[in-house]
Amino acid sequence: MLLLVNSACGFIFGWGLLISGMVKPEKVLDFLDIFGIWDPSLGVVMAAALAVSSAGFWFAAHRQPPPAPQPGSTKRSIDGPLVVGSALFGVGWGLVGLCPGPAIVNLATLSPQVIVFVVAVGGGMALHNAWQRRQLPEPSKSVPTAMDG
């Protein structure tokens, strides 16, 4: 039953990406292209998403009993990995106009380019996990699966 809830959330998320046009890389790139013919659509998508999700998160935080603390929302400091990782992510995002969400939705088109992109994303994640395991001391070999989101 809970799995169905997760699928339903993914389904709604996917429809949101579809309707908003964010599955189209050129629409994302036109937003990022502030030196060209700027398309503010992605800004509207984020504003609308933030308006609805912040209301939901407010309810989640204030209901009784309070929700169990989430793994990942514990880290508070702004550190090097956060900034460097986000910078690298932005370069990749800007090169093709796809981030993980729209890439997953676009798998349905069976586009070879999208499949290669998603495989490379998985490769990059595996590379990160392997690299992080080498950094960690012996006893804790498990890699946190989600730090913030």
Binding site: L3, N6, S7, C9, G10, I12, F13, G14, W15, G16, L17, L18, I19, S20, G21, V23, D33, I34, F35, D39, S41, V44, V45, A49, L50, V52, S53, G56, F57, Q70, K75, S77, I78, P81, L82, S86, A87, G90, V91, G92, W93, G94, V96, C99, P100, G101, P102, V105, A108, Q113, F117, A120, G122, G123, M125, A126, N129, M147, D148, G149
Partner: protein, 141 residues
């Protein structure tokens, strides 16, 4: 701004926000796609089922849309598989190192007013703008 589509952007964005809110309210989880995908691929992670269920739901969205007349169009991508591969590696590695992507940091984290997520979003927006500026206006692609 001839390509600006505010109405569909607002409706679609609201649905994305609704999905993130419902996932948090009903399961207590963050709808960060890179985190969900990363947890699916991480060896030894014990909670793959809900992640897979979420991702399958996402792929079912465009497939169900074809039933109401939506055309599944292959997205416009760079012709070079090398560029696509490098971009994918950067997106995968960077999102894990930074702890999130456009959905986890950009929507869920900013909605919680997390300083980490606001910083991450500002940084990836800035480098993405620079990457697009470079490829479109300096290389002239």
């Amino acid at each position: 701004m001839a390509n600006f589509t505010p109405l569909t952007a607002a409706i679609g964005g609201a649905l994305i926000g609704l999905a993130a809110a419902l996932l948090m309210l009903l399961t207590g989880r963050v709808a960060g796609i890179s985190g969900i995908l990363g947890g699916c691929l991480a060896p030894g992670s014990t909670d793959k089922e809900w992640r897979l269920a979420f991702l399958i739901g996402m792929i079912l969205a465009p497939l169900s849309a074809t039933l109401v007349g939506y055309n599944l169009i292959k997205p416009q991508m760079p012709s070079s598989f090398v560029v696509i591969g490098v971009a994918g590696l950067l997106v995968g590695f960077g999102s894990r190192l930074g702890g999130g992507c456009t959905s986890g940091h950009g929507i869920c984290g900013v909605a919680r007013l997390s300083p980490r997520s606001i910083t991450a979003t500002a940084v990836f927006m800035a480098t993405a703008i620079l990457a697009v500026g470079f490829t479109r206006h300096i290389l002239g692609g």
